[in-house]
Homo-oligomer: 153 residues x 2
DNA sequence: AAAAATATGTTGCATTTACAACAATATTAT
DNA sequence: ATAATATTGTTGTAAATGCAACATATTTTT
């Protein structure tokens, strides 16, 4: 097994580049399919869907944005009518929580249907087993990183 | 095998999040170790090192930035004295090429030494075989994406 | 009870980034 | 030859982003 001497041969490089490609492609796919939310907004919507009564800060942790940007994403989703926000308490503290509107739920389903083809085609070259292992290894890798990294959120 | 219903359970999500973490951590590590180039500049330096007499556009393709930002990264590296730039030709066209200065070469070696510990510790939870498979699968995945995606560079 | 610390969300800002437009030059088509 | 197209690099710009600072409110410490 040859030792990687250059950054372009490293795992970190490959992860970075795949992610950058994914991001660029996502933006384009969302535009071409005329999806009127950004990929980030979609992620937020979907994360709210499967984490009901979550507050902004906890959402920020899940979507790995800081509090400021999470707030701004939610502003946009609220303006577009896909979520509503309300004050609630968590550990006796006032927090802002949010819920999907009917339009929001419909929007997620609509997007899921629209991007299904793209998601599947992007996995063409990998077997189910490879995909499973890839996913699993990435989780371990992330777990490792999170131990080193104190999130400022 | 359960079908992923939510974005936060998907491979794409995991890749995005790992990459975001890596980027955030890289910036901090570079600051803490008092490395006076940015992670992106380091990537450019290292890529120039193993691709001598490359022109800006080809470098841009390798580091997956657009031409504009590649030019700006090179401006910074030139100001800092780690590279020199010169006009050359490629296919009878005038192009800007670049080479590392002695300081640039020393800087790469210095950085490699400084970040070695971090790189190794980030892989603690994975076996060599897992790392190998992870790297290999990501390459396939990227290959797939690049077929769908026409780079505007 | 007062002070310090913590949690949560917002605002401001400097940096990064991707894209579009442009300039200059070379190649290809007509 | 002339026009159209392609290649390469730079400049301008709007959007995204991460961080620091701030405002509030609550908890913990003294």
């Amino acid at each position: 097994m040859p030792k990687s001497l250059h950054y372009t041969d490293t795992l970190n490089y490959e992860i970075e580049q795949v992610a950058r490609l994914l991001r660029l492609i996502s933006v384009r796919v969302f535009e071409q399919l005329e999806i009127d939310v950004t990929p980030d907004e979609y992620v937020a919507l979907d994360t709210i869907l499967c984490n009901s009564s979550i507050c902004q800060r906890d959402l920020a942790k899940l979507i790995l944005k800081d509090r400021a940007n999470t707030g701004r994403i939610l502003n946009s989703l609220e303006e577009k009518g896909f979520i509503t926000r309300f004050i609630d308490t968590k550990n006796n503290r006032l927090v802002k929580k949010m819920g999907l509107t009917e339009n929001g739920v419909r929007k997620i389903q609509q997007i899921n249907k629209k991007i299904e083809g793209f998601i599947n085609s992007s996995k063409r070259k990998l077997t189910d087993e490879e995909l499973e292992n890839l996913h699993c290894s990435l989780k371990k890798f992330r777990c490792n990183l999170e131990e080193v990294f104190e999130m400022n959120i």
